[in-house]
Structures are given as C-alpha cells and as structure tokens.
Amino acid sequence: MTRLSTAPPAQGEVEEGSRRGLLKALEIDLRVFGMVIALVVIVIGFGFLTDGRFLQPVNMVNLAVQSVSVAVIATGMTMIIVSRNIDLSVGSIVGVVGMIYAVLMARVLPDLLGFDHPLLWVIALAAGLGLGALIGGVQGYIVAYIGVPSFVVTLGGLLIFRGATWLVTRGVTISPVDPTFQLLGGGPRGSIGGPASWVVGGLSCLAIVALLASGRRQRVRFGFPLRPMWAEALIGTVSSLAVLGLVWLFNSYKWPPALAERHAAETGVAIPPGGLAAGIPWPVVLLLAVTLVMSFVATRRRFGRYVFAIGGNPEASELAGINTKRTVMKTFILIGLLCAISSAVATARLDGATLDLGEGYELYVIAASVIGGTSFAGGIGTIPGAVLGALVMSSLAYGLSFMGLSSPIQDIFAGIVLIIAVAFDTINRRRKT
C-alpha cells in the first residue's frame, strides 16, 4: 500500500494557500463575504449619489423592512432549487393566504368572537400557516410521488391560487387587520423599542462567541487542525461590532415627535432628549429568526443534508437509503409555511389584503436566491446568501426609487444585476475546475 502514490494535490489548492492565506485562516465563506461587500458598496454608492440622504436611518429601516417578505421566501426557495426543483407559485400562495388572513380578521372571526378578542390574530395566523403548509404539501406530493415536474405543478399553482384569491372576495380589498397582527408590518409601533434592541444585540454577540467557542471545542475534542486564535478573535470582534452597529442604526430611527408623545402618554415611557428610539422592527426580528432557523435546518439537521445530497446526486441519495420523495415533499411544505409568514408581514404592512398581493414575488424570490449563490444545476446554495440576495435586490430598488427613477427602470437594473451575478458565479466556478 505505502509504495503506491495517489494523485498529487491540484495545483490550485497550493496556490490558494499562499495567495489567500488570510481568508483561508479565517475560513470565511467567500461567496457570502462577497455579497456583504457588494451590499455595503451599493448602499454607500447610493449615499454618495444622494449626498448622504439615502443613508438616513429611516431609509435603512424601510429598506430592511421592504426586503423581509421576499427574503423569508427566498430561504425556502434556496432549499427547493438546491434539490433541483422550482416553485413558481409562491406569489399566488402569498396572495391567497393574505386574503384568508384579512377575511378572518376583518369579517369572520369578529362575528364569532367580537372585534377585541385577544386570540383573533393567533387564530388567523394559525389558519394561514396551516393553509400555506397544506398547499405546499399537495404540490410537493404531486411533484415527489406522482412525478410531475415541479415547474409544471407550480405553474399550475400560480394560476390556481391567484384565481382563488379573487374568488375569496370577488376581488374586493379587505381591511383592516387586527392591531396586534399589524405589529408584523413594522413602523414605529411595530418595532421592539430601543432597550429591547440593545438586549437583542447583546444576546447576538454572546451567541456569536458561544458558537465560535463550541466550534473550537469540537475540533479540540477530535484533535483536528484549529483556526489560529487571532483569527477567532478577529471574526468574533468584527461580527459583534457589525451587530452592535446595526442595532445603533435601528435605534437612531426615532418615533415622529407627535406620535412619540401620544405613545409616551399611553404607555408611560419617558421621551429621552434625542427622541424616542423605535428600535428593530418586528418584521426584521422575524426575518432574523427565519434566517437562523432555516440555516440551522439546512446545515445542522438530517433533512438539510438530504436536500443537498439529493441536489448533488439523486440516484446516490436513493441508494444510500434516503427517502428522497418525502424529503422533496417536505421542502414544498416548508416553502408553503414561509409564504404564509411572508404573507403575514405583507398583509400587516398594508393593513389588509388586495387582489394583487404577492404578484410577481416568484421572480424576485428566485432572483434573490440565485443572486445569493444558489445554482440551478442543484446542490449548491446557502440561506444567508439568499437573504443577502434579497437585501441587494431591495436596496437597488429602494435606492433607484429614492433617486426618482421609475419602476420600469428599477426592473431593468434588477434584471441586469441578476445576470451579472450569475455570470460572475459561472466564471468563478469554471475557473475552479
């Protein structure tokens, strides 16, 4: 055995070791790192073009809230595309679920329970999540067990559920939604407040340190090569500073004075000299939670591992004893649930449901996922990438509209960015092999 040699390491690896020494030591996902840089460049670029007005806290907060609906679904779309499927029905699911939320809260439940019933929004939300999961489950069943291509099934779904949205109310806009439910839409009232934001920031920093420490402990336990201590410290410090910087940004977004006074009178909080901080909007908290849970599911759970394995080699996954059909069906249930969450945010922001709620989402969601590094060939993609992709898209759209450019121009830019992002990726991958 020992006299036999295996192939020498590929030349690229050796080069990479010296040229990209710093990044290698940090073991950072280059793709995600690049997206963060791109996002910062876009935001600062618009800042320059608008003499800094774009960088005002209110704009940053609006931008973040605007991206939530697309970003939430994009995390699920990544799993769908990774397993070599597609879901074109997400926008219509958002529409029909939103209509159900609105009808339940504005018409059905008040008749049954009264307008002020505290469980109103809970029941509506549960019903919407259930409907989303059910729709996803049925489409997933047809894709996985009957074998109809997902493109066809969800194209049908796109038409069916858009039609169903109209049928629920014959096209009438339904409003208003429950006041507690409205918190999901953001705005000063729908934010968690200054002190709570600092608590969230502090906990996030602790979580970052705990994650780094547990990762290191695992590697020590088995005697694997360790990341140098300075690299650990650098990652921990930079991420924590970034988190605290974001909290600071959200906290510099103040309640408008008139609203703040009324709010202060209602709740008895004192208004500090600089104004009352609104803090992190609830939809952003929700997006953070979805991103964390989905990343956990994608990388730490069996299900996520199987989704990636199926995308890499469906036959091998089958032969390894994986229940590939059930796994694919689960990805559709998951995206159905995420559509329902996204729909809740959109409905809450509008304070009701309109006929065109969610229209065109499928394209933005797929674009966000693909800009975030998801490969249509399957098997490749990350959850943080998809969220960053959504943020890149919405910061472009927000920035262009802030500069007074019309929505057709925004679409043209979005299309160009999509193609550039994927071309960049394709070239990168070709160079690697």
Binding site: L4, F222, T433
Partner: protein, 260 residues
C-alpha cells in the same frame, strides 16, 4: 471449491423486465475472505443479479441466504443492515458534499440534541481513511474536486465504515488510471485478508484474473458456470463469456477462433 457454509448464497434468482429474462434462474455463492468475479458481456445480467442482493432490484423469484439463513431484502437499507455494502459503477457519491458527509450519507451520526455530529463523522472518516488510503487529506471539500482514485477511496470508505461483511464492487476500476487502479486492487486484497467476501463485477478479464478466487460467468441472463481461477486459463473463461461453453465442453478449434 471452498468448504462450509457460504457467507452469502443467491439461489435460483430470476428477474424479468417486460417478458425479457434479464436474470434467469441463477445461483451463485460467496465465502468469507473470498473474491468471486462475476463476468459476462453487456446485458448478460450481472448488474441486475447483484442489485437483488444490494436491495436496488426486487427479484421475481429466488432466495437469498446469509450465513445459511434465508433473508428478506426489499430496500438498500435492508441490505446494509445485513452487512451487504455496494460500491456502484457510477460511484454513487453526492459530488457537492464532503467526504465524511458522503461516507455517512443516510446513516449520519447525531448529537444528543438531534443535530448532525459533523466532527464525529469527520473523526470516524479520518480513522477509516488511515486504514484505506493514508495519504487522503481532503476531508472538508466537496468530493467533486477530488481525483478519481480519491473518490473511489471515499466510495470504499462508505462501504467499510459500517463493518461490511459482504462487499459488492461494480466495475471498481473502470474510471481510474493505472496507478489508481493499483491502489484499489491493493484495497481489495486488504479487505479480503480481513475476511470480507467480495463480489467483483468487471469487464476487465485481467482485473478478475488478478484478484478473484472463483469466477462466475453469465451469458444472456443465465449462469454459464462457476470455475476456480486456478483450474482455468483466460482463454477458457473468454470462451465461457462469448460462446457460453464450459472448459470441458469447449473444443480446441473454438479456442483457436477466439484467439483469432
């Protein structure tokens, strides 16, 4: 012929696809520490036969015995639970995930809180690789960036990690260069030493003659016969593969024609 109870016996196996007998009443067996070469032309039925043992193909009739006891194999998982591991011609690796994830695919090690224990899987993979291919050092990269030989090491590690007793290798060296082929041959001899029984499916008569103890030949879904390698010449095996005649039946003229 070896003595005692065979490790595995496929008895009177038949598989047909829409009236075509892909495998027709075939009986083969395998003893511990033995390599049985399964040879035949394209479409002879060797892959289909072996899939009934690995759980990837349901037989129409026939029985499987392991250690002399009848067993039921309905899925790849059933086969694995009985100690039957298969290394497929197409490697059956998921290219986009790393070596430990491939080795444990479908049988992941979990932490007490039901999350993937990647460190433990990497550790176990490092241990099994130390035995199989000590130079292997790419535990953190997607297997698509590995060489053919390294990928084959991962495929073999995937099989032996779970204490396989019966190994099915379908064209294990077809995609490899000469040096890498030699690595895989070394591995097979080593596994044989450890008492594992191996069914070797191969087009390459040299591979089979180099490694196998016995050779079973199939032609058009039927078993032509099983011979001890020591008792036959390569020409006689070729005659079995091509014209379906056993060494005692074949004439000198026919052998001449085959040498052509």
């Amino acid at each position: 012929m070896p003595e005692g109870v065979p490790l595995v016996e496929l008895r009177n196996m038949s598989v047909s696809f829409g009236g075509v007998h892909a495998v027709n009443d075939v009986t083969v067996d395998l003893y511990p520490g033995e390599i049985v070469g399964l040879v035949g032309g394209n479409g002879a039925g060797k892959s289909t036969l072996i899939k009934t043992l690995s759980g990837a193909q349901k037989p129409d009739s026939g029985e499987i015995f392991i250690d002399g006891k009848p067993v039921a194999i309905h899925s790849p998982m059933d086969a694995k639970n009985l100690g039957v591991e298969t290394i497929y011609q197409t490697l059956a690796l998921a290219d986009n995930i790393d070596a430990p994830a491939n080795v444990f695919l479908g049988r992941e090690l979990m932490t007490p809180v039901r999350t993937l224990d990647d460190s433990a899987m990497e550790d176990a993979t490092r241990k099994v690789m130390k035995r199989l291919n000590p130079r292997f050092d790419n535990f953190k990269v997607a297997v698509e960036s590995l060489s053919g030989g390294q990928r084959q090491s991962v495929a073999i590690a995937k099989a032996v990690q779970f204490n396989a007793r019966i190994l099915i290798m379908d064209e294990p060296t077809a995609a490899l260069g000469p040096a890498e082929t030699e690595v895989v041959r070394g591995l097979m001899r080593q596994l044989k030493e450890e008492g594992i029984g191996i069914f070797l499916i191969s087009h390459d008569i040299h591979d089979v003659f180099d490694l196998a103890d016995r050779i079973s030949v199939m032609l058009q879904g039927k078993l032509v016969g099983t011979v001890n390698k020591a008792d036959v010449t390569m020409d006689e095996v070729l005659a079995m593969i091509i014209i379906g005649k056993l060494p005692e039946e074949v004439t000198e003229t026919e052998l001449e024609q085959l040498r052509g």
